[in-house]
């Protein structure tokens, strides 16, 4: 009788673990914005992969650098060829965790402020980052949002002095993902 109980329980656990706790998207949005004296540069990627495991707070992102779209074709070309060298480093990724997982009730709809900490990899450099954002819990959906800054120098992206007034050394990143229950 006791074994049967364990069996049923573990089956239940398996079912939960296989279905309930993962939220995923393949069409997340990430924008970057550089504000400099001579020009502002904006690029948008709408093909961001992201997944969140609400049972342990694991949160990951992955995107193709080539999928950033710019206003000017020449900027896009320079971005890929000269700055991020996307032929050598096609992906950027983030792997981290929600730090304040116990403050978020995923069974109760609402907007929760969130702290996420982890490793951000761009080009050939990985940096520890810790940023604030929000998670909006809905029925079978979670919307994650965050705005933060990164320094280009941290990721070995050099700006030649000739264009130092065109590109800001610090870039604002906006993240918006609508994660659906898997």
């Amino acid at each position: 009788m006791k074994t049967r109980l364990v069996l049923i329980l573990s089956l239940l656990l398996l079912a939960i673990s296989l279905t309930a706790q993962n939220y995923v998207t393949r069409t997340g949005y990430i924008r970057f914005y550089s504000e400099a004296p001579l020009e502002n540069i904006e690029a948008i990627n709408r093909q961001v992969n992201s997944a969140l495991n609400i049972s342990n707070g694991e949160f990951v992102f992955r995107l193709l650098m080539r999928s950033f779209n710019f206003e000017k074709a020449l900027m896009q070309e320079h971005f890929n060829e000269n700055y991020v060298e996307s032929h050598k480093y096609p992906n950027a990724s983030f792997q981290g965790k929600i730090v304040n997982l116990n403050e978020i009730d995923f069974s109760k709809p609402g907007i929760y402020s969130t702290i996420v900490e982890g490793d951000l990899t761009i080009k050939d450099a990985t940096q520890k980052v810790k940023q604030n954002g929000t998670l909006e819990v809905k029925k079978d959906e979670i919307i994650g949002k965050s705005v933060f800054n990164i320094k280009l120098a941290d990721y070995n992206i050099a700006i030649p002095s000739a264009v130092s007034r065109n590109i800001s050394p610090e870039i604002e990143i906006t993240v918006e993902v609508l994660l659906k229950k898997m």
Binding site: N22, A51, V163
Partner: protein, 290 residues
């Protein structure tokens, strides 16, 4: 029974710690088009497979000084100059149109360039890029032949090219360019109206922002090849933000296709070569929706 339960329990914990990255699945195969086979729409003097993208206007200032063997009296050619001003616009992602005016024979020109095939890999594999080029040239010099009727059509000439290029790697691109030139009026009866030529061009990337370019046009029509030289040009592309600077040495003084392909007079071995530059400034006329 107990063992089965244990296995299931184990399995459930394994499933829990599965890699979240795996949830994205395999990326769907996409088609990746080769971009920036050349830095701009010209290799040196001649056309490259590149077009201005949709909604982009390029203002091209091309300038050749006098020939270097002019010596110190003309400061090795720097006292003289030949110039062409041009505008190129991307009507669609594939079609570009352009107009220009050269000081050489006071020539107006207009051309269209169409990207027929684009090199790509991935879902759709295409080893080469192919563009079609057609240009028309109007000589607006005062009429030089008092014994001949001054027809407007006599001032016109045409160039048609098939540009076939491959970007072998991020560093190396190569292009081959079969060319047909037609002149409505030629000077002597023995001069051919129709001239065939073939162009070879390539570029090697030296740094992220500088490439070395070389270009050679070989005349295939022997009557023309007896009177004129094949064109050889060597140069560098230097790019800074919204500009591309092309600095080069070439044995062709003029900067439009008909003249530098079929009427090049300079000789490299005599120092009869010209230092020149192109400056390309890019303007975005229509912004794409991000």
């Amino acid at each position: 029974m107990g063992i089965l339960a244990l296995i299931l329990l184990l399995l459930s914990t394994v499933a829990q710690s599965q890699d979240l990255f795996d949830l994205f699945g395999d990326d769907e195969p996409t088609t990746e088009f080769a971009f920036a086979t050349f830095k701009t729409t010209r290799i040196v003097n001649g056309q490259s497979v590149e077009n201005p993208p949709f909604g982009e206007l390029k203002f091209v200032i091309s300038h050749h000084f006098g020939s270097i063997n002019n010596g110190p009296y003309n400061l090795w050619g720097l006292d003289q100059s030949t110039i062409r001003l041009g505008l190129e616009y991307g009507l669609t992602e594939r079609l570009a149109i352009a107009v220009g005016r050269s000081s050489f024979e006071k020539t107006f020109d207009g051309f269209a360039k169409y990207k027929l095939l684009r090199q790509s890999s991935g879902a759709m594999n295409m080893p080469i890029s192919v563009s079609l080029f057609s240009g028309i040239y109007l000589n607006s010099l005062e009429w030089r032949y008092p014994e001949r009727e001054n027809y407007f059509s006599s001032r016109l000439s045409y160039v048609h090219q098939v540009l076939i290029a491959r970007k072998f790697s991020n560093t190396l691109s190569f292009q081959i360019t079969p060319t047909f030139v037609h002149k409505n009026l030629v000077e002597k009866i023995a001069d051919p109206n129709d001239i065939f030529a073939i162009g070879y061009g390539g570029r090697v990337r030296l740094t992220n922002r500088i490439t070395f370019n070389a270009e050679y046009y070989q005349l295939l029509t022997s009557e023309t090849a007896k009177k004129f030289n094949n064109m050889l040009s060597l140069g560098f592309d230097i790019e800074t933000g919204g500009h591309v600077f092309q600095l080069h040495f070439t044995n062709a003084q003029p900067m439009f296709e008909r003249a530098f392909i079929t009427e090049t007079r300079g000789e490299w071995l005599n120092g009869d070569i010209f230092f020149g530059f192109n400056i390309v400034r890019v303007f975005t006329i229509r912004k794409p929706k991000l």
